[in-house]
Symmetry: C2
Subunit: 333 residues, 2 copies
């Protein structure tokens, strides 16, 4: 059988391009040994954090190695098994390599039910994306009914879920996104009270002030940089700033500067906390249960941008960094 | 009797100067009415946060009004009383006006014991300064034995106490200050393991890296700005950044810029929290007890710069912002 692998050819400088990736096609007849399973990739998740792993800088996960396969969240089908925990036809999700087929011991993989929610949802709303939204908002944000929540990168995979959870929990929810189409989607489809197009708004600081007449109690920050600076001017005493990502900064080759944050933080007794979802692993069972219930009750909608074809994974990743997705960006292998 | 008052004449632009203050001398024969006490000022605390109150910007306490007296922490003697809670000769501490004599209802004032620790200490090591150090470090920093603590503004009133508490709690403690004299004092008098003179050190980032070979777990930030930026490069996963002040930024007339913080915060799952000491008022009894015990056991030393003469209060405040103090800056009226 043919097996295709996507490697990191070189570390991107600034914005990644297709030339930073390499493709290897090889004939492979590898079969699982005792305790192993053979997987065929079904869906691949592309995520902003992967950009960080493509750099050599120290971070919360080790950098990808040049010349080695990239890995991310993947849904795969078991096509051969010599592991009693898995049988042919099972579906699993987990952190796997960008390969059309691969061998695994099954360690770190979760068996998933294709009848409960669609398979792709396990990479999104009931996978890492939904858990990121839920755990960040509830564990760090500690929302109280009636408070005001601002979400940046609001039309992204995490952002659309954060806003909806905010509404379910009784918050006033304001989204910031980068096109009129996205902004319309936030208010018409995802229940955001207000949404701001940062690309066409002259003074974001004042736009936030107008949208949040009682000030900002919680800020779910996916972008960092200038937008977050504008939000800081509007935070309330004891505000909580949930730092989930900094997509506006990831592609910069020079260190980006913004207004010094300490005066805002100290004069408001504000909290700013960064996280990755695995910090809250002990909360996952409860969170998955809650997210699934809200989906069943039709309270939680999700949007996916599904790109067809394994070979398009690098382009899908580049498009994601350019904000071309709506909701969770997934490649169908 | 003559009574002297110091008023805010105009809001300082940038660094305060003597011309921003006004003095009023008036003959006053005012006597306490029923329920009131007449106070004579003994010691006046000057603090960096007062600069913020001299601006009109929204903050955690209301701005001072132009043409009205400035107020700060003061130790005063009761020289006449028509309030049964206080008798002539008692000493009190609390937030009072910059006046040599004043009438009070006694509300918000604490009676203090001049025999337990020296009177000036009630404005410092067992007053707001010591409580700020203790509550910030323990409540936000949550120190664990063996961790590394960096303190900026380390030779200041709060900083010298933070470092000593850090050592008592078993931390490796690194101070950053602005003169060789201060740096020597930190290691020789206050038990700091290492101290860095930011004015003579070319690369602060590397100096911190060298002084903190295991990285920085807790950063007690009194200054903000460039020094804090250098610390951010050295924080560990799950670092806690206690934002107590931002003295490097207070006098700037233009917004100051530094490297965008979100990437540092998110990749380290770090926490940054601002506070004022009154947020932890419920912890004060325990904290005062602990601080007094450590002083009695000779584990906690404190330094004061005492300036003589009520009329020198504005200059003492200006000198404080210029870093001319060692330890707590106090005026003896």
């Amino acid at each position: 059988m043919m097996n295709q692998t996507i490697l990191l050819k070189q570390r991107p400088v600034g914005k990644p391009t297709l030339s930073d990736f390499d493709f290897v096609n090889e004939e492979s007849n590898v079969q699982p040994k005792e305790g192993e399973i053979l997987l065929e990739t079904t869906y691949i998740s592309v995520d902003p954090y992967l950009r960080g792993r493509m750099s050599s800088a120290k971070s919360y996960v080790a950098p990808f190695e040049v010349g080695k396969p990239i890995s991310s969240g993947i849904v795969a089908k078991v096509i051969a098994s010599k592991n009693t925990d898995f049988k042919e036809g099972d579906y699993v999700s987990g952190l796997l390599a960008w390969k059309t087929k691969q061998i695994s011991t099954g360690e770190g993989l979760n068996k998933i039910d294709p009848n409960k929610v669609p398979l792709s949802a396990y990479l999104g709303v009931v996978g890492m994306t939904g858990l990121t939204a839920y755990c960040g908002l509830t564990e760090i944000g500690k929302p109280k009914e009636g408070e005001t929540l601002v979400v940046s990168g609001a039309a992204g995979a995490v952002g659309t879920i954060v806003g909806q959870i905010g509404k379910i929990l009784g918050l006033r929810v304001i989204g910031i996104a980068g096109s009129d189409e996205k902004v319309d989607m936030l208010t018409s489809e995802f229940g955001y009270d207000e949404a701001i197009n940062y690309k066409t708004t002259k003074n974001i600081k004042e736009a936030i002030e107008a949208a949040a007449p009682n000030g900002v109690d919680i800020y779910f920050d996916n972008v960092g940089g200038d937008i977050s600076e504008a939000v800081l001017y509007n935070i309330n005493h004891f505000a909580r700033i949930i730092v989930c990502g900094a997509i506006s900064v990831y592609n910069k080759t020079e260190p980006q500067k913004n207004e010094t944050v300490q005066p805002f933080i100290v004069k408001n007794s504000a909290l700013m906390q960064g996280f990755i979802v695995s910090n809250y692993a002990s909360k996952f069972p409860e969170a998955i249960q809650q997210l699934a219930t809200w989906i069943a009750e039709d309270k939680l909608k999700y949007t996916e941008t599904i790109v067809d074809g394994f070979a398009n994974t690098p382009q899908a990743f580049i498009d994601l960094l350019d904000g071309k997705n709506k909701g969770k960006m997934i490649v169908k292998a």
